[in-house]
């Protein structure tokens, strides 16, 4: 059953990702990205990382993507035009390089992958397990990452606010 879920999710994820990068309309790209993010959350769920899966939906789909869509609508962006000047060799070389890249990456990763996942340890992926680690070993980065948010907040205001 999980295997079926995996394959369905895999197909969905890749398909939606392709839509993201192919569809000329930014809103559709964003919606496809939303699908993609949810399928990834599905992956997490199947991998028993429930807490992260929920975070994925809340943070990515619920916050980041909404922000992106908001800006797309605020700026009332139209369909992207077909590429012009820098596009010619970019269009050919880019995919070729990306393919090579994927092959190199994939070979190394697949060579390392175990044949199957071990049985999940009890408590794996729960909020409690995560929280204990987060606030015991990783509390310092947790604090520092708040600076990241401060920077983002100040920066967004500084750059985008109409009148300072």
């Amino acid at each position: 059953m999980e295997a079926i879920a995996f394959y369905v999710l895999a197909v969905l994820a890749v398909a939606s990702a392709i839509v993201v990068i192919v569809h000329r309309n930014p809103v559709m790209s964003a919606l496809a990205l939303a699908v993609n993010l949810v399928t990834i959350a599905g992956f997490y769920l199947v991998l028993r990382a429930q807490f992260v899966a929920l975070l994925q939906v809340i943070v990515y789909a619920g916050a980041i993507l909404v922000l992106i869509v908001f800006v797309i609508m605020l700026l009332n962006l139209r369909e992207e035009l077909k590429a012009r000047s820098p596009g010619t060799f970019q269009k050919w070389l880019g995919p070729i390089l990306a393919l090579v890249f994927a092959v190199v990456l994939g070979r190394a990763m697949l060579a390392h992958a175990a044949p199957s996942f071990p049985a999940p340890v009890p408590g794996f992926g729960t909020a409690a397990a995560l929280g204990i680690d987060l606030f015991s070993r990783f509390y310092y980065p947790f604090e520092v990452v708040s600076l990241l948010l401060v920077v983002a907040m100040v920066g967004a205001v500084l750059l985008a606010k109409r009148r300072l």
Binding site: L54, L65, V69, F70, M73, A127
Partner: protein
């Protein structure tokens, strides 16, 4: 897990899902009637009173009307998105309810059966996750309609969402702090005993959190006074301007379902969930039947409150909305978190 376990689980789940959906749709239809009657009451007029006694059959008439109306798809609309949007509204709205416990965990056929579609560890988060997806429907609808008003509605909705979800989530943190769990059923179980043990009261001193949650909840469900995405006087009907017939009905229903979910969440988190709030001398099925009833009663009361507010308060102006969100609720909810943390550290909350 044996096969019989599996079969049992599937059957029970299906039953629960069916029941919840049925209840929700019933609530929605009742609410359409209640809302109009109550608004009539508030505004010194009758409201619907022609179809059936006291206009009680009005929802059925509405339903028939929705079914009969012509489906219109604007020529310029982005068709797939336009068609998908209503479904996108309804599905998350229904999903969110899945984690809400509407009764205790009972023994049946030798197994524990919780009165919730699922009883999972991160349930609260699941509810948030599902409800946060709802906004995409509004945005998609607004954008796909290719209508200025609709787009404006979508835009406002996303802005509102971003601004209030923060406060909403933060207001819950207090509850989580005192409960020490993300599992809704456990949260409710903690609030047993007298009603002052509920989280909003002495159970967690979360009255501030409750208030913020309620206000943010209004905004999240696009209810007045925060109904800017569909403000009739400004945007015709906002994001669903171009929708008619069943598609409109789906938006309509999802709004009420969201409202119900919101209320149910508030009840679960702050008002004791299915707890009666007072001790009763009996147990067994009479008790849990009473508890389920209590839950729905509390939800009903909050729904009435929703309606009452809508017809009492004028709509916010956009900038006021933002100010309230960022400068009012957000700091308040933060203060609530800190206050709760202090209380918890001092050992003043019930553990």
């Amino acid at each position: 897990m044996t096969v019989s376990d599996l079969v049992f689980d599937v059957i029970v789940s299906l039953v629960k899902i069916g029941a919840v959906i049925a209840v929700l749709f019933t609530v929605v239809s009742i609410m359409t009637w209640v809302e109009r009657r109550l608004s009539g009451l508030i505004q010194f007029r009758w409201g619907p009173n022609r179809v059936g006694p006291l206009g009680l059959f009005q929802p059925i008439a509405d339903g028939v009307k929705f079914l009969m109306k012509e489906e219109i798809v604007p020529a310029e609309a982005h068709k797939p998105a336009y068609v998908l949007a209503p479904a996108m509204a309804l599905v998350p709205a229904l999903c969110a309810f899945a984690v809400i416990p509407f009764g205790p965990t009972v023994e049946a056929f030798g197994r524990k059966v919780p009165f919730a579609i699922v009883d999972i560890d991160g349930g609260i988060l699941f509810a948030f996750a599902a409800s946060s997806l709802g906004v995409f429907a509004i945005i998609t609808a607004g954008w796909a309609s290719r209508n200025k008003y609709a787009l404006m509605g979508g835009l406002r909705s996303s802005a509102q969402m971003i601004s209030y979800e923060l406060a909403l989530a933060l207001s819950v943190i207090g509850v989580l702090l005192v409960s020490g769990t993300l599992r809704p059923m456990a949260i409710v179980e903690r609030q047993a005993g007298w009603f002052w043990n509920w989280n909003a009261f002495a159970g967690g001193w979360q009255i501030l959190g409750f208030l913020v949650f309620m206000i943010a909840g209004f905004a999240e469900t696009n209810r007045a006074p925060f109904d800017l995405p569909e403000a009739e006087s400004e945007l015709v009907a906002g994001y669903h301007t171009e929708y008619s017939s069943m598609k409109f009905a789906m938006f309509f229903m999802s709004e009420y379902i969201n409202m119900t979910t919101s209320a149910a969440m508030a009840v679960t988190l702050f008002l004791g969930g299915w707890q009666l709030g007072f001790p009763v001398p009996f147990s067994g099925w009479p008790l849990w039947a009473l508890q389920v009833a209590a839950f729905w009663a509390k939800v009903g009361a909050l729904l009435l409150f929703f309606v009452w507010v809508r017809w009492t308060l004028p709509r916010f102006r956009y900038d006021h909305l933002m100010n309230l969100g960022w400068k009012g609720l957000f700091p308040l909810s933060l203060a609530n978190v800190m206050l709760t943390a202090v209380l918890a550290a001092l050992g003043w909350v019930r553990r």
